[in-house]
Amino acid sequence: MTTLQAPAHEYRDYAELLDDYYARGWTDGLPVVPPTPAAVEQFLAAAELAADTVLGAVPTREVVVTAEHAAINAVMAGCRPEYMPVVVAAVRAHLNEKANCHSVTGTLSGASQAVVINGPARLRLDVNCQAGCFGPGWRANATIGRALRLVVRNVCRAIPNFLDRASYSTPARYSFCFGEDEEGSSPWVPMSVERGVPVGTSAVTVHSVMTMSSALDLGSRTPEGVLDSVAAHIRTRGVATDEWLGIDNTVMLVMGPEHRRFLVEAGWSKDDARAYLFPRLKEGERPVRIGKPDGILIVGAGGPGMSETWVLFPHLAWAITEPVVPEPGGEP
């Protein structure tokens, strides 16, 4: 284990630390947990990482992000130590070149970062995948998403009115993390497995979201009807992309239980849904700029009661999937 490099500050008590961290611009405005050296060492141990392990970089900002940075901010966010491997995977995913950190955290549009968790970590860490999964009430959801955003702010320098130039920003920038309801979506293949992560291995997908909205369809009872509604909804806004991103760009559909049921009961897989959707997104005078069917990511999540699919429209970035190493709580 390497020695911690971050400068240390001494305070009389928690209140003084809190005021000073806020005054220095080191928080998202909410209270933080004190990142003591002991706590940070505990988080690094949970991820089996040396403090100076490089997780990624933002070349345009001359920033290199280390495991120590991630651990300090994860402690501050209120994570438990066992969340740390998930936070590390999220940071690595966000710092992938095609996740385009500089753009998605600086944009006028105020894009947020959705962190989607797959695999056994969801159950071990009590990640909410069902009713209320986009909202408050679950420590893992709230603090893992917040940890990534604190890294974005404190380490990647996306500070409002400095390198973060959002006109409005969004509450989803406090935290946006949920899991795929793999059990409730059976027999669908989990998103992480579709993207190459072995079955039984936990993974994190980070998707930068420029806007999100609900494709509500209370009337359709068939796969075609549901997907026609979803396609029409996507076509209203389109998908941001450009030459640099190429054809591997992504849009994410978070499908609730009712819509899923109509597809599953008719024997439709996620691939079947993509095969139906893709040509319907590409037809007409203004085709949606999605490069290939695989770019339509489908996640089963949410609770019953509203027949809807949420569409998470991307900013200029790919959704990136990273395995969680080590598995929280040991091998599954």
Binding site: L4, A6, P7, A8, H9, E10, Y11, R12, D13, Y14, E16, L17, D20, Y21, W26, P34, P35, T36, P37, V40, T60, V63, V64, V65, H69, I72, N73, M76, N100, H102, S103, V104, T107, L150, N154, V155, C156, R157, I159, F162, D242, E243, W244, L245, L316
Partner: protein, 95 residues
């Protein structure tokens, strides 16, 4: 009993540069770089700027660069071209 807290940042922020680059006194003999970020109508308006500058006279050349994405810097070869050839640059984007 005191409390130790670690600095969560990647270091001090650089001083923001608030002032624009100095305006060139003249375009006489200048090689002008025109850099489009590709957003909205930027290509169209900067192509027009490119055309006007080319016809203006006095300049010794105009170099047009279009970034591969609104969200990333110019390609390394384009950077090199700008650095090695250009004496005055115009960058712009359009909504």
């Amino acid at each position: 009993m005191t409390l130790i807290g670690l600095d969560p940042t990647s270091g001090p922020l650089p001083e923001p540069v608030q002032r624009p680059a100095p305006r060139a006194a003249s375009l006489e003999g200048a090689v002008v770089g025109v850099i489009s970020n590709g957003l909205g109508e930027s290509d169209r308006i900067l192509q027009a700027v490119h055309r006007e500058l080319s016809e203006l006279g006095g300049t010794t050349g105009v170099v047009f660069v279009r970034k591969p994405s609104v969200s990333v810097p110019p390609d390394p070869m384009d950077w090199e071209k700008l650095i090695s050839q250009v004496t005055v640059a115009v960058a712009g984007f359009g909504g």
